[in-house]
């Protein structure tokens, strides 16, 4: 019989009640992948898009050519930043459950992405984050109080009450405003990088999307423009295996890696163990060097796992095994870096416990300060007049009139 076409429906390896199965993930041994010179032409390093750059082995030993030049102080800073991100997330998740904020999204299990990549970039480099990059904000010096106040939409909210929780920005820290729309920031990063090249500056841009968002047209526009103009940009795909309920196969991850998406355009792709802070740092540093030296864009796929729900509106127990994360072969990024530092004699379980307690205390103190600027239900509120500001640079007549109408209504009802 002649074979017939049949609609292929991608299937995740396990559903609730089944044994987690990550056999679909192709892994390389730590230290196995060679590190090419950053000036190697894209056509000679296509292997990097299919293999996986890993530095830390299962015992926490750093191996191979990608071991980055990071002293213990820097590694301890990375550990601290990752732990702070996780503790902040846990606290915000809890206050959402208590009804204090309307919504939240954790980056549980993905902390090495923001911290490792952020540390490999320079302060003047511009970051275009997705909604799960809170670590970038923390690393770039955004105070947790400010981030909490944004989530609270209170009188100190950087967005003046206009955005849902987690849609931060940090103008001074060179972190762009987060959009709720998916992948829209990718072409912005390319455009920012094009401007840097037009102006002859050596700052580069970086942006992040999830595996699911690679299906959006903006992802493809960004790759095309980055390739055509050889823009100094690092484009990152955080492959955390799940886009709400659809596994990464629905974004086209079944047959080739996400890192390979750029190969057809001549953009080098690097697939990296996204839970290995040393490897994440090393490949980002490599891509940054390429961008700064005029060798154009790099597409990095960071293989990780979304440890929590998509958001506080989501219930993942409906569509994936409950214990899937604990079977994920790349483990937990914080545990792995901790193990490495303990093995090397730079850290101990006691110190880790102390640090955890210290950070929890400081996040608790930050929360107390943040709510003193008001919550959704109590304390001071933003001035409602400000609702009409910033629609345009100068508020036009019809908006001034609407502001007056609202004032009159509120005056008459109180």
């Amino acid at each position: 019989m002649t074979p017939k076409s049949r609609l292929h429906i991608p299937q995740p390896s396990a559903r609730p009640g089944e044994e987690p199965d990550f056999s679909y993930l192709s892994l390389s041994e730590a230290g196995a992948v060679a590190r090419p010179d950053p000036d190697t032409p894209a056509s000679k390093i296509e292997n990097l898009a299919h293999e996986m750059v890993r530095v830390l082995d299962d015992d926490g030993i750093a191996k191979g050519e990608w071991v980055p030049d990071l002293n213990p102080e820097k590694l301890l800073k990375a550990l601290r930043m990752m732990l702070l991100t996780r503790i902040f997330d846990a606290r915000m998740q809890r206050v959402q459950r208590q009804g204090k904020i309307s919504f939240y999204m954790q980056s549980l299990g993905e902390e090495a992405v923001s911290i490792g990549q952020g540390m490999a970039l320079e302060r003047g480099d511009m970051l275009f984050p997705s909604y799960r990059n809170q670590g970038l904000f923390i690393l770039r010096g955004t105070s947790l109080v400010d981030m909490m106040c944004q989530c609270l939409s209170n009188t100190r909210d950087m967005c003046k009450g206009r955005q849902m929780p987690i849609m931060y920005h940090n103008k001074k820290g060179n972190v762009f405003s987060i959009s709720g729309n998916l992948a829209t920031q990718y072409p912005h990063a390319v455009g920012w990088a094009m401007a840097s090249a037009i102006k002859g500056e050596d700052h580069i841009a970086a942006s992040w999307v999830g595996d699911g968002s690679t299906a959006e047209a903006d992802f493809h526009y960004a790759l095309t423009f980055a390739a055509v103009y050889q823009a100094p940009v690092i484009l990152n795909v955080v492959n955390n295996q799940w886009a709400i309920s659809t596994f990464q196969g629905f974004a086209g991850g079944e047959r080739r890696s996400f890192a390979a998406r750029g190969l057809g355009l001549g953009i080098p792709g690097v697939r990296v163990d996204g839970n290995d802070l040393l490897a994440v740092y090393a490949v980002t540093d490599w891509a940054a060097q390429r961008a700064r030296e005029g060798r154009g864009p790099t597409l990095i796929e960071l293989v990780t796992y979304r440890g929590g729900a998509h958001s506080t509106s989501d219930d993942p127990t409906i569509y994936r095994p409950k214990d899937e994360w604990s079977s994920f072969p790349l483990g937990d990024p914080i545990e792995r870096l901790k193990q490495h530092l303990v093995n090397a004699g730079h850290w101990s379980d006691e110190q880790h416990a102390e640090l955890e307690a210290e950070l929890k205390k400081s996040v608790d103190d930050d929360w107390k300060e943040a709510i003193s600027y008001g919550t959704m239900t109590e304390g001071p509120r933003l001035n409602v007049d400000e609702m009409f500001d910033d629609v345009y640079a100068e508020t036009p007549a019809h908006l001034k009139k609407q502001r007056e109408q609202l004032r009159a209504l509120r005056g008459s009802s109180s």
């Binding site: 429906i9 909210d157 955005q163 968002s213 299906a215 309920s245 659809t246 609702m387």
Partner: protein, 338 residues
């Protein structure tokens, strides 16, 4: 008859149409195994299989573009866009392709796509989960634009939309998915079980496209509205004591002009209420139409109550939302005109 929420009514319409017509297929983000983030497609993949309830990549342009192709090859696609705020990557496919395919091919090609999408505010969704972009679609010739205000209409209109050979953009006001909402966020939520619109037949029935409903009869004023605002207007009218016709437009385009004309010729006064921004909003078309059709019957300028012309602010959701106080102010202003 049984009691249904709007979610259940939509689910029932989809179920009945998939049962009745093997060419009906559903596609969208998270619609399959998961059953949709608002649960509107819950259970349908298990019942009809993965080839008829299809999980899609996160690509609204891809969902609508491929739905058009599926529709040109003999199937009848119902596409879900997870939030109306995310429909814009599909805009070119809707505007340049879906709306015009019949016209540009001399009536030979068409694609009977229904695009379902939740819209509107009131769920603390901020600027990216609260928009009411209906006027963007009513402006396109060739698209039928629908927004129901209760479960009964939602089911009957959705069945009509799926059966229609014209493309339909079907807006579902998510604030009233679970129960009617009169604009007061401090009141406890009510379910559809205590509302006549929550009485829904189990089987197949239709509510015709292109027909408005006069849901309350009065003599002094016609209030034209749709979606969530229907309930806000009803509550405000009760408070005001005015005797008003309340017209639920239901199908925004093509518009049921006759029902509007009859009502305004009777009352001589007209107020338009919608949640979307005011400037170039759908209300502007309603005002122009009523003015053209009923000018010599009008005793007062036509009034408009709408969202402010700003993005939907997270912190000021209830100052933004055109609640009962704004409707009451609109009613007073028209009734006080000599």
């Amino acid at each position: 008859m049984s009691q249904m929420s709007m979610i259940k009514a939509i689910n029932s319409a989809l179920d009945i149409m998939m049962q009745k017509d093997p060419t009906v297929v559903i596609l969208g983000e998270d619609v399959g195994y998961f059953g949709g983030v608002f649960r509107c497609t819950s259970g349908l993949q298990a019942k009809y299989g993965e080839h008829r309830v299809i999980d899609a990549p996160i690509a609204e342009g891809g969902i609508i573009g491929s739905a058009i192709g599926i529709g040109t090859n003999g199937l009848r696609p119902v596409a879900e866009i997870q939030f109306a705020d995310y429909i814009y990557p599909g805009m070119d496919q809707i505007l340049s392709e879906l709306a015009r395919l019949r016209y540009r091919s001399g009536g030979e090609f068409f694609s009977p796509v229904t695009v379902r999408t939740p819209c509107g505010g009131g769920i603390r969704g901020g600027q990216t989960h609260s928009q009411s972009p209906e006027a963007v679609f009513t402006h396109l010739s060739g698209i039928v634009t629908v927004m129901p205000s209760n479960p009964y209409d939602a089911k009957g209109l959705l069945i009509s939309a799926i059966e229609s050979d014209d493309p339909v953009v079907f807006f579902e006001p998510k604030r009233i998915y679970s129960g009617p909402f009169d604009g007061d966020p401090d009141k406890p939520a009510v379910s559809w079980s205590s509302h006549p619109g929550g009485e829904v037949p189990e089987g197949h029935y239709t509510v015709p496209l292109g027909k408005a409903a006069v849901i309350e009869q009065g003599s002094d004023l016609s209030i034209v509205t749709y979606g969530t605002m229907v309930h806000v207007v009803q509550a405000a009218v009760r408070k005001s004591g005015v005797s008003a016709d309340i017209i639920d437009v239901r199908t925004l385009a093509p518009l049921d002009i006759d029902t509007l004309r009859e009502s305004v010729e009777k009352t001589g006064r007209c107020l338009i209420a919608h949640e979307a921004t005011r400037f170039c909003g759908y209300g502007a078309e309603l005002v122009a139409t009523v003015q053209e059709e009923c000018f010599y019957h009008l005793e007062a300028p036509i009034g408009r109550v709408a969202g402010w012309d700003t993005p939907y602010p997270h912190a000021f959701e209830w100052e933004y939302f055109p609640g009962q106080d704004r409707v009451l102010a609109g009613i007073s202003s028209i009734m006080e005109s000599v």
